[in-house]
Symmetry: C2
Subunit: 576 residues, 2 copies
């Protein structure tokens, strides 16, 4: 019906627009970043063309210290749920948590097919298995270099380098033009697996014309180039050759190339290799099964076999490079690890940089290990880690090859995005064609123009235990209040008919003061509450809410004046 109306052309009408323009208008491409902009983590971007939506990545973020009790954060995908029927597939650039960690949560709500290269897919699979969802999900292997064809999108996976194998950029071939989404990447001319980023394909796309580039901004503030993964191997070789006791190396479990280099050094020095930590054991096994990590079977031992070998014949590879309190290395440092206790002469290599926010935890870890007699080697004193992200010069390389008309910096906080925008501008992208977007922006792009046309529901969904999104701002505010000064619960039983207190006031506090030393204070609170309640009853104030308010006010004021503290006051009135 609508079609018929549109077919009638009335050029005299006030609303008349040439039909071509109208059609073009209808067919604009929308790009909606639902996470990862103005923040680090939970990367996810939706691309919409007419009745088709595809999604690139669906990651998680880790909570800051202000998010009391929260385990992880996943993106709000309300926009996708509302457009459920349009959503045709989820395409994954690589297997890091900030790109795949939200997948179980999104697939519970939208059962779309997932497409990714082998290692990435194996990690997604293992995650879905943990959530007992494997049988319900449609996962599809894509060879790197190949494409998935949908009605409006042709999704091409292009090899890049990063701190996990099988990392890809994605080139979206759309009716509007080609969009390149870099994923997380760096340019490594000597990668451990020999697979160099496919710069030729970038050049080819650039030559034909790229409409839009969306590129990783994580290291935009760093000048120069990111060093090759290979340089870490050289430092490791040097350290291993000097080690006389056990070598304990902590790194990200997903950094399979790092695991390969650690293993190679161990084999060269006739050291058996043991993996410690849940994700380290899991990912090393997957990587070996799939041929991404190559270690002779007889060189691998389990943790309970360590005791059978001399110290200089042992390498232990562990999780915990971020000082996470429950990870293997922290348990080793705290002497609570089942199999490993630090001995004088152990060399502990922390082959990672602290992620912002973890600096203090890592520093504490180094102190604890050092105090126990280990020789701890870390980033400040040796070049024992390289980043997986492109620095300024590498960002310039891909700008020069792709020469995009439009540019959107992605994956980064505001300071990273704005710096990356300036780099793009200096490489020739027109200032007006560069867009710094916010998570949730609906960005519309034609062949000639881009603009933000609205806002999709977006933000963070907090996961606490099994609860998804049931902890909101009010609960968090209460947790903060409870964390800082504890709680005073006041219970009083009232016979309203006879206007008397039947029992109490009982005062119970938690996280406020050590009660045994504060009996006077607690007694004083009890007296204050008794007076307030008696006065209310005398004055015929019979609304519980009002009595509670008065109790709260009086106790709060007394405690603050006496102690300069503001515990939560929780009055409970029991009416008999």
């Amino acid at each position: 019906m609508e079609n018929i109306i549109e077919n009638k052309i009335d050029r005299k009408s006030k609303n008349y627009k040439p039909r071509m323009a109208k059609l073009k208008n209808k067919s604009k491409l929308k790009i909606i970043p639902l996470g990862g902009l103005g923040e680090i983590g939970k990367n996810i971007t939706a691309f919409e063309f007419n009745d088709e939506i595809i999604v690139i990545d669906c990651g998680l973020a880790f909570p800051g210290e202000d998010l009391y009790g929260i385990d992880i954060i996943v993106p709000d995908v309300t926009y996708l749920i509302r457009n459920k029927d349009k959503v045709k597939g989820l395409f994954i650039t690589h297997g890091h948590e900030d790109h795949i960690g939200g997948i179980p949560y999104i697939l519970q709500q939208i059962n779309m097919p997932v497409y990714a290269p082998k290692l990435t897919l194996a990690l997604v699979e293992s995650k879905l298995e943990e959530h007992h969802m494997l049988n319900d999900c449609k996962i599809n292997l894509v060879e790197i270099g190949e494409s998935v064809k949908l009605k409006n999108f042709n999704i091409e996976f292009i090899r890049t380098n990063h701190s996990i194998p099988d990392s890809c950029s994605i080139a979206l071939h759309t009716p509007m033009g080609v969009i390149v989404h870099s994923g997380d990447f760096k340019v490594d001319f000597t990668p451990i697996d020999g697979h160099i980023i496919n710069l030729q394909r970038y050049a080819e796309l650039g030559k034909k014309g790229v409409l839009l580039l969306m590129a990783d901004s994580t290291n935009a503030l760093h000048k120069g180039y990111t060093m090759s993964e290979k340089t870490v191997g050289e430092t490791l070789e040097n350290l291993f050759s000097k080690a006389t006791g056990r070598v304990i190396v902590s790194t990200f479990a997903s950094n399979v190339h790092r695991l390969q280099q650690i293993s190679d050094c161990s084999i060269k020095n006739k050291r058996k290799i043991a993996f410690s930590g849940r994700s380290m054991e899991k990912i090393s096994e997957i990587a070996m099964d799939l041929g991404y990590l190559s270690i002779p079977k007889d060189m691998i031992i389990s943790l309970d076999e360590i005791k059978n070998y001399p110290n200089d014949k042992i390498t232990i590879v562990t999780t915990g490079s971020q000082g996470e309190s429950m990870a293997a290395l922290s348990r080793i440092a705290a002497s609570t690890h089942k199999y490993i206790e630090i001995q004088k002469g152990d060399m502990v290599i922390i082959s990672a940089s602290p992620i912002p926010g973890n600096e203090k935890a890592v520093s504490n870890l180094i102190n604890d290990l050092t105090a126990k007699g280990a020789n701890v080697v870390y980033k400040t004193i040796e070049e024992i880690h390289v980043s997986g992200h492109a620095c300024e010069q590498e960002l310039r390389i891909i700008q020069s090859l792709l020469k995009p008309k439009f540019f959107i910096p992605v994956h980064g906080e505001y300071k990273h995005l704005i710096t990356h925008a300036k780099i793009a501008e200096s490489m020739g992208v027109e200032e007006n064609n560069i867009f710094i977007l916010d998570t949730g922006d609906i960005f519309e792009l034609s062949k000639t123009k881009g603009k933000v046309i609205g806002k999709a529901p977006s933000g963070r969904v907090l996961i606490d235990g099994l609860g998804i999104g049931d902890v909101g701002n009010m609960v968090l505010r209460d947790r903060k209040n409870l964390a800082e000064d504890g709680i005073i619960t006041v219970v009083v039983a009232i016979d309203r008919a006879n206007k008397v207190i039947l029992s109490g006031p009982d005062i119970v506090s938690r996280g406020f003061v050590y009660v045994r030393n504060s009996e006077d204070l607690i007694n004083e609170v009890r007296n204050i509450v008794a007076k307030v309640v008696e006065k209310c009853l005398e004055d015929n104030i019979t609304q519980w809410a009002e009595i509670k308010n008065r109790i709260r006010r009086e106790v709060d004021s007394f405690v603050y004046t006496t102690m300069k503290r503001k515990p939560m006051i929780l009055p409970v009135i029991v009416e008999i």
Copy 2:
């Protein structure tokens, strides 16, 4: 009486020892670090010789995120209180919080005289005034270069360089020999006030013989030299010359030399200067009154006068360089500052490095300011800050001048101390004469030998509001529990005589779930509690503690199974 016995020499006795040895033995020197070793902050060291104790510094530390609700940490000085009569004076190396912040608390317990140079003393005074203690305290001005003579100690203040004027080393001339305590220091040959560290006096002391050096380890992990404060001035000049809007500089209020350089740049560029933030206003006033900071009166304006001047004629100097949530710069970034709102074109210079643990807060601050349109300049992108602590080569300089027989690295975490120990060894101090001490160690030193002979009570006293030490491990554990999963209070009124529930169970939760969306859950908890209580009454279990235990166990188990959360369960039974 005892004296007489000692005068009788019985060389045949089993207990006989030559008298000289006995006297020497009696006169050993004790050194007791009561803070600042194996940690950053709350520096304090006691020196004891026979019936005399002197103390160097008494600082505070700031709590880590695990110390919920704690404002500051001061040292446990039980050892000094027990030896109150011996304690003769407190000598202060410089006016930073980690060296003077504990003074009001220690003087409340031991009213000893305080000795310090002018600026340091003024800052101590201002602190005592805030605590309404000024009239009761004996504070004494010492000129740098001069000494205070006590019976056994001659305490000499030697000028050094650091990020606050009037910083000193202290040379303790004792009957056992000379001990040099470096204080916090660096070697700056072009300091802003022209007062270079007195290396000649170090050389003179070294020539005569130094028994023990205790030196600042903060930057021991950093090779090379710390840059001169003057280099920051050059960067500032360059930035100011390019600024077209307001310049807002955030730095440590106590870094008076930095304030001077910021002011000089402002004056040169005809910018009026306004100070923002409580400590910035206070310290700049003290420094100007005493002549440490020199700014023409007409160049200073108050915050409410800013609006009367064009943007390019304004410099604002603020606190908050560490991203502290209540400090001026954070309030500016959050648009809650009374007088200052970020405008496009403002240049915000963060002239400081984040102290370990503050990295994330500073990063968030930079993002917020950038997003509001400010051009934010910080350490990663410009050399806008230098450290106040000596790097490896400077540590070598003072080792080479003082040539101490014994060495104790101080002021640092374990990793700093052990690295500093290795530096000292490589400079010629015998390995056996280097001691890495723990806070609380009682270290005994003779002319030829040092050893740890015991442990003094020591540790941290937590200050929360007006409460000193009333928040202990149990309260902190409760706060952590409350922070992570909140609390469920269960109130039930019982008529024990008739074995019936009179009222309730009432379920009140805070920080647990958003109650409005969780009615079913709360109802389920109510049912569980009712069943538990009814069963107890039926079974004649009349001990409240036992009923409470069962409530706790059942609710805990239900909530954990349903939600994988462990809120605190607080049962209250009201007996009518």
